[in-house]
């Protein structure tokens, strides 16, 4: 369902040309849990932006669900993000002083769902993400980091996307809370067959996925199944 073929990305700032990606090709199938791992400056963020339809490649093609996304306009990219993608960010990016439920409802507003259906879906997504019902009407800034990240996961899930993209989802969390969030992803992948792409610079975090793509200096240096997958049991 994700098919990247020879993707390059070159940034022009004045006279200086920065090559962020040089010929990246890979495929990700439905229901996979893949980690893209690499140090900072490796081009993993650029790759994430292209997979996330936030940016288009300089050359090469990117197919998402058999649709060529690499040459779309800004508005068409917005439609792709709306219908097919769910994002989880390092810094949660929840609307402050807004209830948890309303935060999760937000993507459905842009997707044009009728207001009755929105709440039902949002509540289901929050339960899926493992957030207790007692928090639904709290303001997002009253929650702990782990709870906030679960709200963000629920927001990513709510529109039933083809792909969930998590960009350093544990970066702002302590190890224990990070484990909870990672196990949430594992559960979603195993029980509901969600396709998840996890971007991280930490091997430890990447080892929670089934497959690890290692990227360095804009090129894939390793793409292999994760043989010693870390499992966290009984939390979610």
């Amino acid at each position: 369902m994700i098919k990247c073929d020879n993707i390059t990305k070159v940034y022009n700032s004045g006279d200086v040309k920065t090559v962020a990606l040089q010929g990246v090709s890979f495929e990700i199938n439905d229901g996979e849990f893949v980690a893209i791992m690499g140090p900072s400056g490796s081009g993993k963020s650029t790759l994430m932006h292209i997979i996330g339809a936030l940016d288009t490649p300089t050359s090469g093609t990117y197919f998402l669900d058999d649709q060529d996304v690499s040459k779309l306009s800004d508005d068409e990219l917005a439609d792709i993000r709306k219908d097919k993608l769910g994002f989880v960010f390092q810094s949660f990016n929840l609307l402050p002083r807004t209830t948890v439920l309303r935060n999760v409802v937000l993507p459905l507003i842009y997707a044009g769902f009728p207001s009755g259906e929105r709440e039902v879906r949002a509540k289901a997504a929050l339960e899926n993400a493992g957030l207790n019902e007692s928090h639904f009407y709290h303001h997002s800034n009253q929650l702990s980091g782990g709870q906030m990240q679960r709200v963000a996961i629920a927001r990513a899930l709510v529109n039933n996307p083809s792909l969930i993209l998590a960009d350093e989802p544990t970066g702002n969390l302590d190890t224990q809370t990070g484990e909870i969030v990672l196990s949430t992803f594992q559960t979603l992948n195993e029980k509901q067959h969600r396709t998840i792409v996890l971007i991280t610079h930490e091997r430890y975090v990447a080892e929670h996925a089934d497959r690890i793509i290692t990227i360095r200096d804009g090129e894939i240096v390793e793409d292999a199944e994760n043989r010693n997958k870390r499992k966290i049991n009984g939390i979610v």
């Binding site: 936030l54 940016d55 800004d74 508005d75 917005a78 990016n93 002083r97 842009y110 997707a111 044009g112």
Partner: protein, 407 residues
């Protein structure tokens, strides 16, 4: 995104920072309310002036004596002080001009009046029986001077309400009491109704006596101070004025109209010049208030720009979850619009209250027109769009990747 979603999003965003929203709105509230209040004062003044001109009489043309201009050195005497109009002129106008309904010549002067030990200095007008209909004077008690009294040089007087209060006290019926004007005893036969006005233009501080009596006992000559002419209707006023001019020129044996020894004013001219003055006044007051409206608009733009910077990450997130540039643009524009509309609505109410207070405590008549309310709303909507456009476009133009990274 439906309209109701947009409305909810917008009001939620504005309620997040209530103090800032309130202060920004205050700028618009002050601007709109001062425009409403100022324009209402201006229009109220216009109404007052127009009605007081109207109360002078209807379809009124006033003929006044003027200095005769001759060749050589000109000695300028004040307008109206010359002695060039006589009762015969008034009679001629009445008899020879068909467009005239009534003519009321008058002689006026200020005299010391005494009655039962009190005394006052006031204006005495010598006139004829048609005066009340020409100058819109109404009788409260008793009656006005009649033709018989004018013919017989009767020593009778009709008092204005202020003159009555000064001489006899408030509420006292002075009919058939006596007063002395310049030592001559007059019998009071009536009191007129109050017309309003104050200071030098007080049309209530007046005593009316027959014109013949005034000529014989007070002035001692046969000239009149001015001749009030009532035209048959509004349309014929200009024609009547032309005919009176040529009649009087003929009677005074003056061939060159520029050398006329009288001048004629008609009510429409007075009205036109008065309303041009009050229009200027309204414009002046309105534009001073308009400046504060612009300042309020700049306040809105300032707040919107701050908001866009502050909420850069939110904008990035909204774009990441599928909002188009158009959605972001609409959201911020509607925030600016809601600020100005809410501010505008409160401003209209406040301006209304303000103008009621002004007319209650300041004694100035104010009038609020639908036009000024619509204008204020239109202006606030325009300010919302005008000053909200740039910040909204800036928000919509943000790159989602950079917006999400913004610290």
């Amino acid at each position: 995104m439906t309209i109701s979603d947009l409305f909810k999003e917008t009001s939620a965003a504005l309620l997040v920072n209530k103090a800032r929203t309130g202060l920004t709105m205050l700028g618009i509230i002050i601007g709109i309310s001062s425009v409403i209040a100022m324009v209402s004062i201006g229009q109220g003044a216009q109404g007052t002036i127009e009605s007081s001109i109207q109360s002078l009489g209807s379809n009124l043309i006033v003929v006044m004596p003027g200095a005769q201009r001759g060749p050589g050195v000109q000695v300028s005497t004040g307008r109206g002080s010359a002695q060039s109009l006589s009762l015969a002129d008034a009679d001629a106008i009445q008899q020879q001009i068909l467009l005239v309904r009534a003519v009321a010549p008058e002689i006026n002067g200020r005299y010391q009046i005494t009655a039962r030990g009190t005394n006052t200095n006031t204006q005495v007008i010598g006139t004829v029986a048609t005066y009340p209909s020409v100058k819109n004077v109404e009788i409260d008690t008793g009656s006005f001077i009649d033709d018989q009294q004018v013919k017989s040089l009767a020593k009778v007087a009709v008092l204005g309400p202020t003159a009555r209060d000064d001489l006899f006290g408030e509420g006292v019926d002075p009919v058939s009491q006596t007063i002395r004007i310049k030592g001559v005893i007059f019998k009071v036969v009536g009191v007129t109704k109050a017309k309003g006005g104050s200071g030098f233009s007080n049309s209530d501080d007046i005593i009316y006596i027959p014109i013949s009596t005034a000529q014989r006992f007070l002035t001692g000559h046969e000239y009149v101070s001015d001749i009030n002419v009532q035209a048959v209707d509004q349309q014929s006023m200009t024609d009547a004025q032309t005919q009176i001019t040529s009649l009087l020129l003929d009677r005074h044996h003056i061939s060159d109209p520029t050398l006329a020894d009288f001048s004629i004013m008609n009510q429409a001219d007075i009205m036109a010049s008065a309303s041009s003055i009050t229009n200027t006044l309204t414009l002046l007051l309105g534009s001073i208030a308009g400046i504060s409206l612009i300042v309020g608009g700049i306040g809105i733009m300032n707040m919107m720009l701050t908001t866009v910077t502050e909420r850069t990450r939110e904008i990035g997130l909204r774009k990441a979850i599928g909002a188009k540039s158009r959605d972001i643009n609409l959201q911020f524009l509607s925030e600016a619009l809601m600020l100005t509309f809410a501010g505008g609505a409160i401003g209209v109410i406040l301006g209304w209250i303000l103008s009621l207070l002004v007319s209650h405590f300041g004694g100035i008549t104010t009038s609020i027109s639908l036009f000024s309310i619509l204008l204020a709303f239109g202006v606030s909507a325009a300010i919302g769009i005008g000053f909200g456009y740039y910040p909204a476009r800036r928000a919509a133009g943000l790159n989602p990747i950079e917006a999400l990274r913004y610290e």
